[in-house]
C-alpha cells in the first residue's frame, strides 16, 4: 500500500472551507508540543493564548483594534494577489501612510479643524498609493520583479520614518525621545465606546470590506484581474492588459495599507514613533491567504491573526515566553494552510491491490 495524490476533477468546496480549520488545528497541535517541550501545561497555555485575551471587554476592544488594520491591509493585498501581483511591501506602505497622515496633524497642532481627519485619511491613502506606484512602474516599464522591489521599499520606508522622528519631526518637548508630538484631538478618531481604545476607524474597514467584495465579485476590473491571475494566457487571449492589472493590484494594495497606517497613527498611537507597526504589513499576507483572498474570509483571518498577537502578549506577560512566539505561530499557521490548500486540488489515494 502506498499513499499518493491525484488531482481532483473539480476543486473540493468542502476542503476550501476545511483547509483553514485544519491548518488552525495543526498549528494548535504543534503549539501544544512546543509548550510541552517548554515544560508548560499545554491546555493552560492554550487557554492563556486563545481564551484569556477575549475574556474582558477591554480584551475584545483590543482584539478589534488590532484586527482592523490587518483586515484592511489584507483586503488590499488580496486584490493584487488574485492577479498574481505579489506585493509584500504593505509594511512600508503602512509606514508611509502613517507618515503622510502625520504631516497635516502636526501642521495643525492642537488647534485642529473639522476636515483634518478626512484630510489625514486622504494623505495616508495617497502616500500608500504613491509608494506602491514605484514597484508598479518598475514592473510595467522594466519588468522589475515586484516582490523584490516592494520588499526593499519596506526598509526604505522604515528608515525614512526613523529619520523623521529623530530629526525634523521630533517632539521638541519630548525629552529627546524619538517620537513626534502627540496629535491634537481633532486629528484622532473618537473611541467607539468611552474608556476603550477601539475607535470609529473600524467603520472605514467595514466599508472597505464591502467595497472590496463588490470590486472582486461584481466589477469588470476585478474579473479581469482574477482572469489574469488564474490564467495569464487567457487574459492575453481576451485582450486584458497585464499592465493594468499590475497597476491596479499594487495601487489598491498601497492605498489600503496607507489608510491602515493613518488609522493606526490617528488611533491608538496618536503620534509617530520608530516602531508604529508590529509587523501588520507582513501578517496581512497571512490574513489574505487564510481568508482565501475573499473579503469575508479576510475578516475572519484578520480576527484570528489579531487574536494570535494578543495571545502572544498574554503569554509573554503570564508565562514569560519570548515575543518571537507570536511570529512562530503566524509562521506555522501559514505553513499548514499552504499544505492544507494542496488538498483542495488533490486528493489522497491508497494505491494497492484491490
Amino acid at each position: 500500500m502506498r499513499l499518493h495524490f491525484e488531482p481532483r476533477p473539480t476543486p473540493s468546496f468542502a476542503m476550501q472551507v476545511l483547509a483553514p480549520v485544519a491548518a488552525l488545528g495543526l498549528t494548535v497541535a504543534v503549539g501544544c508540543v512546543l509548550f510541552a517541550l517548554l515544560d508548560l501545561d499545554p491546555i493552560e497555555t492554550l487557554r492563556i493564548f486563545f481564551v484569556r485575551p477575549l475574556s474582558s471587554a477591554n480584551g475584545v476592544s483590543e482584539w478589534l483594534l488590532k484586527a482592523s488594520p490587518l483586515i484592511l491591509i489584507g483586503l488590499g493585498l488580496a486584490v493584487g494577489f488574485r492577479a498574481n501581483v505579489w506585493n509584500i511591501g504593505a509594511e512600508g506602505m503602512f509606514v508611509i501612510g502613517a507618515i503622510c497622515a502625520c504631516g497635516p496633524a502636526l501642521a495643525f497642532g492642537e488647534g485642529g479643524h473639522v476636515w483634518l481627519l478626512p484630510l489625514m485619511a486622504l494623505a495616508g491613502a495617497a502616500g500608500g498609493v504613491a509608494w506602491a506606484a514605484v514597484p508598479a512602474f518598475l514592473r510595467v516599464r522594466f519588468n522589475a520583479n515586484e516582490i523584490l522591489v516592494t520588499l526593499m521599499l519596506n526598509y526604505v520606508a522604515i528608515l525614512l520614518l526613523g529619520w523623521l522622528v529623530r530629526g525634523p519631526w521630533r517632539d521638541p518637548y519630548g525629552f529627546n525621545y524619538p517620537q513626534t508630538a502627540i496629535f491634537g484631538p481633532s486629528a484622532l478618531f473618537d473611541p467607539l465606546v468611552g474608556g476603550y481604545r477601539v475607535n470609529t476607524s473600524i467603520f472605514i474597514t467595514l466599508a472597505v470590506v464591502a467595497a472590496a467584495w463588490v470590486f472582486i465579485q461584481w466589477s469588470f476590473a476585478g474579473y479581469r484581474m482574477t482572469v489574469g491571475g488564474a490564467a495569464p494566457a487567457a487574459a492575453r487571449f481576451a485582450g486584458f492588459r497585464e499592465s493594468r492589472a499590475i497597476w491596479l493590484g499594487l495601487l489598491i494594495g498601497g492605498g489600503c495599507a496607507g489608510l491602515a497606517g493613518m488609522m493606526e497613527a490617528a488611533g491608538p498611537l496618536g503620534q509617530l514613533s520608530p516602531t508604529i507597526s508590529p509587523g501588520y504589513g507582513f501578517a496581512a499576507i497571512i490574513v489574505a491567504f487564510i481568508g482565501r483572498l475573499h473579503p469575508f474570509g479576510i475578516v475572519l483571518g484578520g480576527l484570528l491573526l489579531s487574536l494570535l498577537y494578543m495571545g502572544g502578549e498574554s503569554a509573554q506577560i503570564m508565562l514569560k515566553l519570548p515575543a518571537a512566539l507570536t511570529r512562530t505561530f503566524q509562521g506555522m499557521l501559514l505553513f499548514f494552510l499552504l499544505a492544507a490548500d494542496f488538498m483542495i486540488y488533490y486528493r489522497p489515494r491508497l494505491a494497492g491491490r484491490r
Binding site: 476533477p9 473539480t10 476543486p11 461584481w218 466589477s219 469588470f220 476590473a221 474579473y223 482574477t226 482572469v227 488564474a230 490564467a231 494566457a233 487567457a234 492575453r236 487571449f237 481576451a238 485582450g239 486584458f240 492588459r241 494505491a351 484491490r354
Partner: protein, 549 residues
C-alpha cells in the same frame, strides 16, 4: 492513402502468426476490464484479443475509453475489475516498467522528448541499460535503416520536424524489442505521404511478429492498415469489425451509434473587398525552437472559408498569436481588418473591431480552467452588454452561456460547471460556440476539431460553414487535411514559416497539398513559393515519400 494494398499487410501478419506456432495463443487478451472514475465509467467490461503479428485497431470517439484502456495495458493505471492475459498467462501490470518488462511499448500522441539534447541522448534516457552513447547510436542507425525510419542519432532534437520526432519515439520503443506496440493517434502530426511511410514501417514491424494496437478515430487509416478492429462506445465494446470489409460508414455507425453526419455547404460567394488582410508579415519567434514567419501574405474575404494547412510546428502557433492580437507588431499595415491597419492592436482592440479567435490551447487560454462556463462567457462576450458602468451583469453572462450550451449541444452539468470539468470535445464546442455566437466579422480558428469525436467535429465544421455563409470571413488553421478539404473554399500551406499561394479547393488535391506540406511543391504563386530541395534534409525528403526504398 485508402488505396494502399492492404492485402500485403494482412498476408504478412498471417504469415507471422503462422510462424509463431500452430496453436494460436493471443499475445494479449483482456477479459472484462472495468474502470470507473468518479461520475464516469471509463471502461465497462471490455474484452479484447490481439494475436501475434496482428495489427489491431481500437476505434472510438473521444471519451470512449480508448486512452484509459491503453493506460491499463501499459500499467499506468490499474483496472477496477478484469483480467489481463499475456501469451495465455494471467498477469498483473502494476507499472509502465512492468509493462516494458513484458514487452509492451507505447508511442504517445504527445511526445515526451527533450528539445535541447540529441536524438541518441533522448533515446538513452528511456532505455534501461548502461549509458553508452556510441553503441546506442550505432544501434539506432541500424534499426532505423531496417524499418525505413531514417534518423541521424547525433542531431539535436529541437531541429527535427514533427514527423522525425515521432520516429525517435518509435525507434525508442523498437529498441526494446517490444512484442506489443501501442500507438496512440500516431498520424495526427504527419503529412499524407508520411502516413504512408509510417504504415509501411508498421507492417514490417508486425510481419516480424510484433503485435500492434493502433488507436485512432480516423476510419480511412484503420481500413488501410488494420487486420481487426474493436470499436468502443461510451466505455463498452460496441462491436468488432473487419476493417478491410466494413465500410467507413459502418465503422462510424458502430462508433457513434448513429450515421456519419455530413456537412451541408452552399457555394461560396466571397465579397470583393478583403476583410482580413496580411501583407508581408516577417516576425521572429519568441520561442527559441519556434519558427520565424517569412513574408507571409494572404487575404480572407467575407463569405468564404480559407484554410491554412501544414504539419504542426511550421509557424502556425506564431501566425495564430499574431492574428489574434496576443502578439502585436509595430508595422501597423502588416495586418489589416476591413482595410484599416490592425497589426499594432492588442487582442481586445481587435475584438472590438469584430475579430474572434479560437486558440489551439483550450484550457488556460481559451478558457480559465477553474472558472465556470458562465464566468468564461464574459471573457470574450463582455462586449454584448454584460458590463454596465464597470459592473458585471452576471445574469446576462449566464443566459449567454446557456444559449451556447444548448445551441452547440455542450454536454456539461450546466452553466455553473467549471471549464476544467468538461471533456476536451465539449470544451471545444463551448469555446467555438462562444466565439461564433458573438457573430464575428472575422473568425480565426486554430485546430477547430483537434481531438474531437466525429459528431462534435461535424457540428463544429457545419457551424463554421454557416458562419462564413452569413458573410463572415473565416480562417481555419488546421493540421487535418481532410477537414480543410471538407470545409474550405481556398487552401494555403504553411511550411517553415512561409505561406504558399492559395489554391481553390476544386483545383487541387490531397497529394499536391501534401507535397507542399513537406516543402516539396514547386509553387508558381507570386514568387513566394519554395522549390523542391530547398532547406530540406534527407529526413524530410523521406518524410514526403520521395526517394523511399
Amino acid at each position: 492513402m485508402g488505396k494502399d494494398p492492404r492485402g500485403q499487410g494482412a498476408f504478412l501478419a498471417a504469415a507471422a502468426a503462422g510462424c509463431a506456432g500452430g496453436a494460436m495463443t493471443p499475445r494479449l487478451e483482456l477479459r472484462g476490464i472495468s474502470k470507473t472514475f468518479p461520475g464516469v465509467v471509463a471502461n465497462d467490461d471490455v474484452s479484447l484479443r490481439v494475436m501475434p503479428g496482428e495489427i489491431h485497431a481500437v476505434l472510438g470517439e473521444n471519451g470512449a475509453g480508448k486512452s484509459t484502456l491503453m493506460k491499463i495495458i501499459y500499467g499506468a493505471m490499474a483496472a477496477d475489475r478484469g483480467e489481463i492475459f499475456w501469451d495465455g498467462e494471467p498477469v498483473r501490470i502494476p507499472s509502465p516498467a512492468a509493462a516494458r518488462q513484458l514487452g509492451v511499448g507505447m508511442v504517445y500522441q504527445h511526445f515526451s522528448l527533450f528539445e535541447s539534447v540529441s536524438v541518441a541522448e533522448n533515446i538513452a534516457v528511456a532505455v534501461d541499460e548502461p549509458f553508452d552513447l556510441p553503441a546506442l547510436s550505432a544501434r539506432v542507425r541500424e534499426l532505423s535503416q531496417r524499418y525505413g525510419l531514417p534518423l541521424d542519432p547525433g542531431r539535436l532534437l529541437g531541429h527535427l520536424s514533427v514527423g522525425e520526432r515521432q520516429r525517435v519515439e518509435i525507434v525508442r520503443c523498437l529498441l526494446q524489442h517490444p512484442r506489443l506496440l501501442i500507438l496512440d493517434e500516431p498520424t495526427s502530426v504527419l503529412t499524407p505521404q508520411a502516413v504512408k511511410r509510417l504504415f509501411e514501417t508498421l507492417r514490417v514491424v508486425a510481419a516480424e511478429g510484433c503485435s500492434l494496437l493502433y488507436i485512432s478515430h480516423k476510419l480511412e487509416e484503420i481500413r488501410a492498415l488494420c487486420d481487426n478492429a474493436t470499436v468502443l462506445r461510451r466505455g463498452a465494446v460496441a462491436g468488432g469489425a473487419d476493417p478491410k470489409v466494413a465500410s467507413s460508414a459502418e465503422l462510424a455507425a458502430l462508433m457513434t451509434g448513429a450515421a456519419l453526419p455530413e456537412t451541408r455547404r452552399e457555394p461560396a460567394r466571397p465579397e470583393p473587398a478583403p476583410r482580413l488582410e496580411v501583407r508581408s508579415l516577417n516576425v521572429t519567434s519568441e520561442d527559441p525552437f519556434g519558427v520565424p514567419l517569412r513574408d507571409v501574405s494572404f487575404a480572407v474575404h467575407p463569405g468564404e472559408i480559407v484554410g491554412i494547412a501544414g504539419v504542426s510546428g511550421n509557424g502556425q502557433t506564431e501566425l495564430a498569436a499574431l492574428l489574434s492580437g496576443e502578439r502585436t507588431v509595430p508595422d501597423k499595415d502588416a495586418i489589416r481588418l476591413d482595410g484599416e491597419p490592425a497589426a499594432h492592436l492588442d487582442a481586445g482592440a481587435r475584438r472590438d473591431r469584430g475579430l474572434a479567435f479560437v486558440p489551439e490551447d483550450r484550457l488556460g487560454r481559451g478558457v480559465v480552467p477553474l472558472m465556470s462556463l458562465r464566468e468564461n462567457a464574459i471573457l470574450t462576450a463582455h462586449r454584448l452588454g454584460m458590463v454596465r458602468r464597470g459592473m458585471l451583469r452576471r445574469f446576462k453572462a449566464n443566459a449567454y452561456a446557456r444559449e451556447v450550451i444548448e445551441r452547440f449541444n455542450v454536454r456539461c452539468t450546466g452553466a455553473a460547471a467549471t471549464a476544467r470539468s468538461l471533456s476536451g470535445g465539449n470544451l471545444q464546442k463551448y469555446i467555438v460556440g462562444r466565439e461564433i455566437a458573438l457573430s464575428p466579422r472575422v473568425l480565426v480558428v486554430s485546430q477547430p476539431t483537434w481531438g474531437l469525436d466525429v459528431a462534435a467535429a461535424a457540428a463544429i465544421r457545419q457551424a463554421l460553414i454557416d458562419l462564413s455563409r452569413r458573410s463572415a470571413a473565416v480562417l481555419v488553421i488546421s493540421e487535418e487535411l481532410d477537414e480543410l478539404f471538407e470545409i474550405c473554399d481556398r487552401i494555403l500551406v504553411i511550411y517553415e514559416g512561409r505561406l504558399s499561394a492559395s489554391r481553390e479547393r476544386g483545383e487541387t488535391n490531397v497529394e499536391e497539398i501534401g507535397l507542399l506540406m513537406a516543402g516539396m511543391g514547386a509553387d508558381p504563386g507570386a514568387g513566394m513559393g519554395w522549390v523542391a530541395g530547398q532547406a530540406m534534409n534527407a529526413g524530410e525528403a523521406a518524410n514526403a515519400g520521395v526517394g523511399s526504398t
